[in-house]
Symmetry: C2
Subunit: 330 residues, 2 copies
């Protein structure tokens, strides 16, 4: 029987009600009593789980004992209305297959909440948590919305080089890229590293920006954007520093400052609106768990015209605040 | 006056006919006589140029002499039906502004065709040629179609690491990434390079594949794909080898071999159909200039069901051909 995704099932439950469905996913929790087990199943298509009701008499003890948090299972059964709190529909399991087990003694993701620091130590399992699956689905939606926005405007997506011989911004520390033997690199007569023997015949680094190549493309195609990985080798372990991150850089010919500001405002509002329109379940979770004002703030971004002011006006505002600054504003 | 893109103007010329329009772009050619100049203008939105007709009496000699191949200009004038061969509409220039000049003595892209080898030496100007602008617009369209296809199917786009401590495929030569001083790297007591002093505290390379991380995400989100740069440090200068290229890797939980084949076939047909539907002007140019069977072949990909056969059947077919192979098939 063809698998149905939980997102599809929950969004169109009236279409599937009283029908046999097959679901495949990972067990979030199992609870119950001597007669019946309730399994919360998630398949990553949505943050929501669906409740699977297993009549214990119908399944072997052997099978049921493997249905633990983290186990991968396939269930076929009828979708019915649910009496339980927290869900409108549930599946009465007829057939159960355990595809992969998760030993409760060693599987690190259990029912309780886990700190982000702990999850960092088990990065391979993070996508199975509510928080990271939310973030990954949102990140996907935002990446898609970026491409959709620019495509609709006739921008051309350019893949600018990752390995580069130039230092686009002249500042940030860069990662060196080399195929030289690090233990005994080729040397010139003077004892310097001989980059003419390196892969590209010169010293190369990981790019800090696609701007240079983006500008060249814009001078031919009109409006372009980059969206790819960039790198910084600054050794600062703060929450605002990343060694590797994906950056979006639009470059446009014939734009004046007003056009640039219009584009930036329209872009940001488009992305936030897209998230509100397509990822509300994930946003609700983050709003509930991490930031009670998240959705309210996102809505205000969409609804409020962005203030535009001159440098002088901005300085005036800063001078008048009671806020303390490290460097005096003047 | 707000600039109109040439693609928009040519696609909806009936909407703009007899109206004043402003166009901005780069001069491809200028020809004419003592009374009138005909300028072919391109702005990168399409491979097509629009003809600008300049009544020489209306402009200064100073201005007109700067309107040369490669110059960047802005023109405002009326869109009218054209008597000339090769275009249905043209613009009667009223106002002309030369935004950037291109000295005919030194500007390397002239009216004549240029070899790809020559263009490689002036990579910063390549996007201004018909061939490269076609390829860049097509590449954009294909990248967008990749995202659109997977998004519609509920796949999650994951950005897998570029800098990695693992060698995903155990084979291909890799680029080393380091912040160690290449001239005098930190060394252990034994004289080996001391990677514990490197940025990540260990030896790192540029990824050859996002598959490993993609599989981990698929085991939580169900269906995911990667689409990012990957690297190979093999020193082989062939047309089939790239040191840096963007790779698409779908990873799906719960798929059987038949599902994988269905996905691959649907994906390829979707992309080719998207190109035929959205990039036909660019494909026509490539068909004309590089490969007279291109469009025919693309159509056959969309229209023909892909043959699926077993390994044994494939060997049988190869054994029966008269084709010579380097390694005998058996």
């Amino acid at each position: 029987m063809k698998r149905i995704k939980i997102k599809e099932l929950l969004s169109h439950s009236d279409k599937y009600i009283d029908q046999q469905v097959t679901l495949k996913g990972w067990v979030r929790t199992k609870r119950g009593n001597k007669h019946v087990a309730f399994v919360a199943l998630n398949d990553g298509s949505t943050i929501n789980t669906i409740q699977i009701v297993l009549d214990i008499a119908r399944f072997s003890e052997e099978q049921l004992k493997d249905v633990t948090t983290g186990a991968c299972i396939s269930v076929t059964g009828k979708l019915v209305g649910s009496q339980g709190a927290g869900q409108s529909v549930e599946v009465q399991g007829d057939q159960l297959e355990v595809i992969g087990v998760a030993d409760p003694e060693t599987y690190p993701l259990q029912k309780k909440g886990h700190s982000l620091e702990f999850l960092r130590e088990i990065a391979h399992l993070r996508p199975r948590t509510n928080t990271f699956s939310c973030v990954l689905r949102l990140r996907h939606a935002m990446a898609f919305a970026v491409h959709k926005f620019f495509n609709e405007k006739g921008f051309v997506y350019v893949h600018t080089p990752i390995i580069t011989g130039s230092d686009a911004e002249g500042a940030g520390a860069m990662f060196q890229v080399t195929t030289l033997d690090l233990k005994n690199p080729a040397r010139t007569k003077e004892g310097e590293v001989d980059f003419s023997k390196d892969f590209f015949g010169k010293a190369t680094n990981l790019t800090v920006s696609g701007q240079l190549e983006g500008e060249l493309a814009a001078m031919a195609l009109g409006e372009v954007y980059t969206f790819g990985p960039t790198f910084r080798a600054e050794n600062s372990n703060t929450t605002r520093h990343l060694a590797e991150f994906w950056m979006i850089e639009p470059e446009m010919a014939f734009y004046e400052i007003q056009d640039n500001m219009d584009l930036a405002e329209e872009f940001l509002k488009y992305l936030v609106q897209y998230a509100l329109g397509n990822c509300i379940d994930d946003l609700n979770f983050l709003n509930e768990m991490y930031d009670k004002e998240l959705i309210e703030r996102l809505k205000s971004v969409v609804e409020t015209p962005f203030v535009r002011l001159s440098y002088t006006e901005a300085v005036d505002i800063l001078v008048k605040t009671t806020q303390k600054f490290e460097y005096k504003v003047e």
